[in-house]
């Protein structure tokens, strides 16, 4: 079975509805990050960009302090539904 980008192969695929997806997954904005040269870490079994070839880390810090910066995070929302 191929991953969504067709370039890697999942050897273990969870059953639908099995709960937490134990395979590595990519952010829906992954392809938007690609042109900037992302370097990824794995967080909650999700790829999260640590830095980019095209973007300076200190520049990013000042962008955050003076204007606005966007980060697509590896936070993992888990849903709890019901009165309990």
């Amino acid at each position: 079975m191929n991953s969504s980008d067709g370039k890697t192969r999942d050897l273990v695929t969870p059953m639908p509805g099995a709960g937490w997806d134990f395979s590595l997954s990519r952010h829906p904005y992954h392809m938007i990050e690609r042109p900037f040269g992302p370097h990824y870490c794995v967080y909650n079994r999700r790829e999260m960009a640590c830095c980019f070839d095209q973007l300076d880390i200190e520049e990013g810090y000042w962008q955050l302090r003076q204007k606005a910066a966007v980060l697509h995070t590896g936070e993992f929302p888990l849903q709890f539904k019901g009165p309990g």
């Binding site: 937490w20 904005y29 938007i32 880390i57 955050l64 606005a68 966007v70 709890f80 539904k81 009165p83």
Partner: protein
């Protein structure tokens, strides 16, 4: 916590050791999302849900954060209906971005003014991103990686699960004791925490150079702790870090030497976290001055 609000939440093992932290969103009276940091919370939650009428699942939601002083202007420009009201610190709103309804929260990982948006499986993510970048461009919004945010989160004393704390540290060790409600009925880890030391072991660091993660922190030449996070702060013009000390309750200002990324021990001192903006006035929008860049 009432619907439409978020709260910061911790999960412990029975021995009081921390598993994970995160932001709990109460979307509806019986519907929550727990946006957790890195860790195996799902299995823990399922194991402890015995006898409870609750369905725990992965909603396949991804979180992005827009942080910085112009973030609220970007939100007002991006929202089809203008700025959501109310949308206070740790509030939740549902807004429409280019016709798509999106959950947003007034939270983040930087202690800057900011908000996060939650991309769900039904969203057209490409269209959503195009809409947000068009709205954000006039306000200087740019994509950046975790390393840039990491500097700011150390300054702010925001901890990272798995590196700053783990199953061997209690919330008190990590300086998170204010989030423990000892008057609450039974909760997992309560008995162990009742008997645990209240004095924190985690401390901020100020240093001549960039502290090396895992490097030793020494007092009078003797190992007294280890670095859990390090960076150079462009704003403070100093090496900064977080250290887990072996002994609890060491005072801010304690002189130390710190193993830094050049392999050498450098002079430093323990410091109270956060390193500035002690009352978190920046993320609340109370303090709005833009810091000058220091090169």
């Amino acid at each position: 916590m009432r619907p439409g609000r978020c709260g910061y939440g911790l999960a412990c093992y029975d021995d009081g050791g921390l598993i994970v932290d995160g932001v709990l969103l109460r979307l509806e009276p019986d519907l929550f999302w727990y946006a957790q940091a890195d860790g195996d919370f799902y299995s823990w939650a399922r194991a402890h849900a015995r006898g409870m009428d609750v369905e725990i699942s992965d909603p396949k939601v991804f979180v992005s954060q827009v942080q910085g002083p112009t973030s609220m202007e970007i939100l007002a420009a991006a929202s089809d209906d203008g700025m959501p009201e109310p949308f206070g610190y740790f509030g939740i709103a549902r807004v429409r971005f280019g016709g798509q309804e999106v959950v947003i929260t007034r939270t983040g990982y930087t202690n800057e003014l900011g908000w996060e948006f939650y991309t769900e499986p039904q969203h057209d993510a490409d269209a959503l991103w195009r809409h947000l970048t068009a709205a954000g461009e006039p306000f200087g919004m740019q994509l950046f990686g975790l390393d840039s945010m990491h500097i700011r989160r150390i300054e702010a004393g925001i901890l990272n699960a798995g590196s700053d704390f783990d199953h061997t540290t209690t919330p008190y060790d990590a300086g998170l004791g204010r989030f423990i409600d000892e008057d609450k009925g039974d909760f997992i880890g309560k008995q162990a925490l009742t008997n645990a030391s209240r004095k924190p072991r985690l401390s901020g660091l100020l240093c001549e150079a960039e502290p090396h993660i895992g490097g030793e922190v020494c007092i009078d030449g003797n190992p007294a702790g280890r670095v859990t996070a390090g960076a150079i702060s462009p704003y403070l013009q100093s090496g900064i870090g977080i250290a887990l000390m072996y002994a609890p309750g060491l005072a801010a200002g304690t002189q130390v030497t710190v193993r830094c990324i050049d392999g050498e021990l450098h002079a430093g001192e323990l410091a109270e976290l956060p390193l500035y903006d002690k009352q978190a006035e920046i993320p609340r929008g109370i303090r709005v001055d833009i810091p000058e860049r220091k090169d």
